[in-house]
Amino acid sequence: MSVELIKDAERIDFAGEAAECILCGSFCVSKENE
């Protein structure tokens, strides 16, 4: 196979909803290094 998946999808459907706390919007810096 010539196409290689390096990082998997985080959003897998189009009608989803936030899976984690998003109360503080851009104020939050908690997302860790991937």
Partner: protein
Amino acid sequence: MTTFKESAYNFPVTHKEGDYIYNLYTGAIIKTPRKGLDFKKLSEVELELLEKKGFIVDSAVDESKRAEFSHLASRFSSRALGLVLHTTFECNFSCPYCYEKKVDRNLFMSEELVDKIVDFSESNIQRNKIRSVSLAYIGGEPLARPDIIRRFLTKMDLLKTKHGVSLSNALITNGYFLEENIAGLEMEKYFNFIQVSVDGFEASHDKTRHTADGGGSFEKILKGIIAAERKNIKVAVRYNLLKNNRVDAEKLIDLMSRLKLKATLGFGHVKNYGSAGLCGSLKCMSRPEYSAEDLKLIKYAAARDIKVSLLPRMAYNNCCADNVNSYAIDPRGDMYKCWNEVGQKEQSFGNINDCVDGKPALSKEANYYKYILENPFRGGCAKCKYVPVCMGGCPYERSKGEAACSKYKTQLPDLLGLYLEKKI
């Protein structure tokens, strides 16, 4: 038979002579044998993978509409409950950019009010068949009154068990009282993460974040972060980035590196939140200045193995303001959609004491949906490649005509390079 087209959200990048594509809608990354996607040379298995991960889509699909649908579905979802709890307005600091300038610092939540909020939460969980509850504790300085937080933690944990919901507790603190409250609040048991804000390094931090008698706070806050990490509590440090503390950010990174701290570090863009004219005296950066300096600091930190966020978080709705079942509550029980407005009673939409059966009481209903109904896809954002990771940005800023475009517009190629450097 389905015909495919390349996703409008594909972002190609070359790294060390390898060709990669990042998809801004799904967050997936692929390595390709050559630049772009040549459909004729792809196998059935590859086409299936590319469709599943969002790199190719049905030709009939308008992806902008798909992103809009995702955004609106999340806005109008009441399957989760979110509460931003301003447990007290008391604060031991007096930061010059505080957006809560006008609040009464003597106010705090009474035990009766805490119990009322817990009752509201239980009714709301039952009414909406809630699966997850997210709580953010903020002030004032929430750790100025740990007894109030303790009452919430205990009672909400009982609801979690009783109703089988997931519960997330986040604490937004200045960190001054962190160390002495780790044990008492059983932080390692209850808190998913703690965010501590700093304004600089040692003297530059102490200049704005000092106690009422002028005493410094940097050293004490650092001790608190170290103590929290020893208990394996997840800590995020938000460095409020200004023109005059930019240089000191590198000193903080160097110190974190020497101490081998595990905290995630992020650089916040200080803006005129709730206080017009603030940035005139504070040397705030413009958005392009901030994006450039933020990127330099991320590179500096990543090179020293400090945890920094490289790739965007997939956006759904933005925050408390634009979801139908998220509320900011102040010490009087007044409820707001945006926490920038907390304490400004005229911006409140109701009071928790008037809520019945887990429904928000809408004494000023226009304040309830003013942000929820403001759809960025009706403006210039619809055709923007970056809209899946931004979703229009801060609803409060947009309403003030001060919308700031995502920093990823300028940073993404470099951040992808950093990510691939670490990953491959």
